[in-house]
Amino acid sequence: MRVILVLALLIFGSTGGEIAITHGMKATGEPARLRPLAMLQFLGLAVRNGWFWAGVPLMALSFYSLLVLLSWEPISLVIPASALSYVVGTLGAKYILGEQVSAARWAGVVLVCVGVALVAAG
């Protein structure tokens, strides 16, 4: 039971954090150029966005959940289980960020999710 709970923290922490950061980055907008000075300005704008700082603690929560899980269960179980975050993240992208997830993209996400689980299981 506690494993399921911490796994949920791991998955929702990482996807929630990445969705918040994506939202912040979309508000920041693209860097004008991919040159050092423009990238510094871009980074400065990005870290002044509140959504970025909403995402960071969620990702930290997810990281600590991963450490806790790894202390209980073998890595060959933890990483395949966390591959579910590809599906959860895609649901979040569709319903929270309003991205259009076509059938081809869904099929790709499911293949990646199963593939990552198999690779990590060894």
């Binding site: 693209e30 993240g89 991205e99 997830v101 993209r105 790709g108 499911v110 593939g115 990552v116 690779v119």
Partner: protein, 142 residues
């Protein structure tokens, strides 16, 4: 359309930068922590590990690569869909397996090869879709 093609190319370049930085960072971090040895979970053990970590050149190079990963991830998300970038980044798992076979001569199980094939097929499928399906606040000058 030229802008569509440009969007695809710069997204591809950034996803590759993400994958390379993340893999290089993780491998260097693993090497650095192996050099330091198993960390004792006591106050003095953690303090000792902290001193060794900040003094390790390998760890600092790893941090540099992981910062590069974060910057390229943030950059690509400023124009591309999360549901495009996230599965595309899984290509790193497939790349890591290939590198382990070619350079470390590791033997890889049939199950893991099936996983690599599924990841590659999935990334190719996602790659066919439009990188951006939402409107973006500011447009970069060409």
């Amino acid at each position: 359309m030229a802008s569509e093609r440009r969007l695809r190319i710069k997204t591809l370049v950034m996803v590759l930068a993400m994958v390379v930085c993340a893999n290089a960072g993780d491998l260097l971090l693993k090497r650095g922590m192996t050099e330091i040895g198993a960390v004792q979970l006591t106050a003095s053990g953690l303090a000792q590990a902290f001193r060794l970590t900040v003094a390790s050149g390998t760890i600092w190079v790893a941090i540099l690569f992981l910062s590069g990963f974060m910057l390229s991830y943030m950059t690509v998300l400023s124009w591309a869909d999360y549901s495009y970038v996230m599965p595309a980044g899984a290509f790193g798992y497939a790349l890591l397996t290939l590198l382990a076979v070619v350079f470390l001569h590791e033997s890889v199980s049939a199950r893991r090869w099936v996983g690599v094939v599924l990841i590659c097929a999935g990334v190719l499928l996602v790659g066919q879709t439009k990188p951006r399906t939402t409107s973006v606040v500011s447009e970069a000058p060409a």
